[in-house]
């Protein structure tokens, strides 16, 4: 494939966006979906072509530079794309999973208002996401970075008549902007130190100076991390992602599980050259990752909304990826990114299918016993649950285990490595527990929904929330079909494909200790080899294969324990757990998500708003800025009150003043004349 065709990969979805965005309102629904699918399918095919080209020629990179975007004396940025093996994997995930989700959406959204709008936004998202992964410089990456944020904002707020959806969209955008603030500052620092934003220039400069350790590179890395934490929903900026579940379910699957939220991981991997030079920054990445993983997992255990459980699970899994990056196991992080894209997209789409079946119900307390009613959804979701729980031989086991193993073997800071490994292991147990909890509550046990009133009850709930009665939003289409029903095949087919990928997707990365050859890592070696290969070799010596096997066995055991516990409490003796802990302070703390949102509101948002209202608006603006005008006006008025006495309006008094003035001038002239002589 000619590198010049790279442009087509992102530009085609953009064309789809333009067509659907301007004409979509007047087009028939099949036409809208057809356009959107076409402009997603062709890039996917192009990516396949790209793969075959690069593999057959053995080329490690491919790049294309077009005209200049920003040029000022001494600095310029081009429109430039580049592909290496990391990009190839991202491209495959984005276009592949993206295409499947487009198909699914055509069925899921079939009866929604604003069908054209949905697909236009979805294509816009694809455009920006592809720009993000293809970018060959920081600024173009930032274009995609902000752009996916925009698409996410538009799609979360898709049901904009609902206040909660509009709020969630705004929150997502603003919190992401906090991350972008860090990213921007990182770019300014890079410009100040390197004079360029091109990956090639910057990384080559770093590689050429082995003496640079820490220092400004730490500052850049930490600021980049702020950006990554915003986009990938890590502590302390994760708060937007659970709220983002207000968007339609396919959006949650595509943007908030499989692709956009992994952009932070991708960015850290892409800039690993900088991170590698800063042990401090790497440790921070690892700690944030591990902390986020366990933090989100605990919240996920007590959520009742099926999508929110999955959302916290996403945050938690992203934490794993950061943990992987933090111990310089970049290929493991990318591996988990890929398998996670498969099984989390699957889980979300399956959850969407469940919600569809129940006419819009998302509360797991009102589900149960769906195993027989929607068998295809059940079986595909089962694959996803086992995959994420980390039970071999499904995909999640291999990628998660790789990260845990690498963490355990982290040689730069062995103590920290062991500690983070323990945290990761505990999280793995929790993950298994809450995912099987979800599985049992949804599919097993008795049917807790009221079949006759499905949808209606939902409508009533929403009518209560919105007295104005405008609840056109939120999955209204799923109301109306009464009775539980399996989804149409246009939705089930993507589920089946993703289920297959979730089962076999991990086999390309089976580590040597388990008899595989870890193709995946070797595939990424050209990207990460420069800095990590040596370390890997050391690791392999230090921790033997037998150790690796033991660790794998431990994590499988932990996953099985999680399953077992969930089985006891949600299948055998449902309700016992709630009865014992339902009123404990700890439960309330976790159930209220540690009051993080409230804490942010009370410590950051409100003080800013109130402070600016009282101090800036009340004092600075109205007293200092406007007051200075009044003071000068008052002084002027004071003088005027004296001088205005002259302006009596009486002609003769004017004449008198005139005469006096003339006399004074005369006298002055005479006096000065006398003085001179």
């Amino acid at each position: 494939m000619n590198p010049n065709y790279l442009w087509l990969i992102p530009v085609l979805p953009f064309a789809g966006f333009l067509i659907n965005g301007t004409l979509g309102r007047k087009l028939a629904r099949p036409a809208v979906a057809g356009i959107a699918l076409l402009f997603t399918a062709i890039p996917a095919l192009l990516v396949a072509w790209l793969w075959s080209t690069m593999l057959s020629t053995g080329a490690l990179t491919m790049s294309v530079t077009s005209r200049s975007w920003i040029t000022v004396p001494g600095f310029h940025v081009n429109f430039a794309f580049a592909v290496d093996h990391l990009t190839l994997i991202m491209l495959a995930v984005v276009t592949g999973v993206g295409f499947l989700i487009h198909i699914y959406s055509a069925g899921y959204m079939a009866h929604e208002e604003g069908y054209w709008r949905f697909f236009a936004y979805l294509n816009l998202f694809m455009f920006f996401m592809l720009v993000l992964v293809l970018a060959a410089n920081f600024l173009l990456l930032f274009v995609g970075w902000e752009g996916v944020g925009l698409a996410s904002y538009l799609l979360i707020g898709f049901y904009f008549t609902k206040d909660s959806a509009a709020n969630a969209g705004k929150k997502a955008f603003v919190v992401n902007r906090i991350g972008d603030f860090g990213f921007l500052l990182a770019m300014f620092l890079i410009i100040a130190h390197f004079g360029s934003l091109s990956f090639g220039d910057v990384f080559a400069a770093v590689n050429a100076h082995p003496a640079w350790q820490g220092g400004f590179l730490t500052a850049i890395a930490l600021l980049l991390l702020v950006g990554a934490a915003g986009k990938s929903a890590q502590l302390p900026l994760y708060v937007w992602l659970p709220d983002a579940m207000e968007g339609p379910t396919p959006v949650s699957a595509l943007i908030h599980a499989a692709t956009m939220v992994t952009a932070g991981v991708y960015m850290v991997c892409r800039t690993h050259v900088i991170f590698d030079r800063s042990p401090l920054a790497l440790s921070v990445v690892a700690i944030i990752g591990a902390a986020t993983a366990i933090f989100a997992a605990t919240i996920g255990m007590v959520q009742h909304d099926i999508k929110r459980v999955l959302a916290y699970s996403t945050v938690s899994q992203l934490g794993y990826m950061f943990l992987g990056c933090g111990v310089a196991a970049y290929s493991a992080a990318v591996f988990h990114l890929m398998t996670h894209a498969f099984f989390k997209a699957l889980l979300f789409l399956a959850a969407g299918s469940v919600i569809h079946a129940l006419s819009g119900e998302q509360d797991m307390r009102l589900m149960g016993g769906l195993k027989k009613r929607i068998p295809v959804t059940y079986w595909t979701m089962t694959a996803g649950v086992i995959a994420i729980a980390g039970i071999p031989p499904l995909a999640g086991f291999f990628s998660k285990d790789e990260i845990l193993y690498r963490t355990f073997a982290f040689e730069a800071n062995p103590m920290l490595g062991k500690l983070l490994w323990a945290v990761g292991l505990l999280t793995a147990g929790l993950t298994s527990f809450y995912m099987f909890r979800l599985w049992y509550k949804t599919f097993a046990g008795e049917e807790r929904f009221d079949e006759a009133h499905l949808g209606q009850a939902h409508a009533v709930v929403h009518a209560d929330e919105h007295p104005a009665g405008h609840d056109e939003g939120q999955d209204t289409s799923h109301q109306g079909h009464h009775g539980v029903h399996e989804s149409p095949w246009i939705m089930l087919a993507p589920l089946c494909i993703l289920a297959l990928l979730s089962i076999i997707g991990g086999w390309i990365g089976i580590p040597q200790a388990l008899g595989g050859s870890n193709h995946f890592e070797h595939f990424l070696d050209p990207v990460f080899a420069a800095t990590t290969h040596a370390e890997n070799a050391v690791n392999a010596d230090q921790v033997s294969h037998s150790m690796e096997l033991v660790l794998a066995a431990v994590s499988v055991l932990v996953a099985l324990i999680g399953w077992f516990v969930a089985r006891i409490f949600y299948l055998k003796k449902p309700g016992t757990l709630g009865a014992r802990f339902g009123n404990s302070a700890l439960y309330k703390l976790v159930a209220n998500k540690y009051w993080v949102d409230e804490a942010y509101d009370a410590t950051i948002v409100q003080p800013t708003v109130i402070g600016s209202r009282i101090l800036l608006w009340g004092f600075v603006e109205n007293v200092l800025v406007n007051g200075s005008g009044f003071v000068s006006a008052a002084i002027t008025r004071l003088f005027a009150s004296v001088t205005r006495k002259m302006q009596s309006g009486n002609i003769r008094s004017y004449a008198g003043w005139l005469a006096v003035g003339a006399a004074i001038i005369l006298i002055a002239m005479t006096a000065s004349a006398l003085h001179i002589h």
Binding site: G649, N650, R652, A655, G656, A659
Partner: protein, 100 residues
């Protein structure tokens, strides 16, 4: 030949009378006349100096002043008549439209 000082003294006296009556009188016609008086006092100094220095400039200026005075008289009287028509008075103390 009359010394120039005599002309100047006469002009100063005329001018002072003009100023005085301008300030004292209330009738707008009288005020007008005192303005003319002051103009003529100035004219007198012009002519006197022109004669003294044998320069034509002063005399030319007098013509200017006379033309302006004539124009002023024409316009001024028209204004006075207009004022009288609207306000039925020629007392300047009552004509203070500019005030406020």
């Amino acid at each position: 030949m009359v010394p120039i000082a005599y002309y100047l003294i006469l002009a100063a006296v005329l001018f002072s009378i003009g100023i005085g009556s301008f300030l004292i009188k209330r009738n707008i016609i009288t005020i007008f006349m005192s303005i003319e008086l002051m103009l003529n006092a100035v004219n007198l100094t012009f002519v006197a100096f022109a004669h003294q220095w044998k320069l034509i400039h002063g005399q030319i200026f007098v013509f200017f002043v006379m033309v302006v005075a004539a124009a002023e008289a024409a316009v001024g009287l028209a204004i006075i008549i207009a004022i009288f028509r609207t306000r039925q008075t020629l007392n300047v103390d009552n004509i203070n439209l500019m005030k406020n």
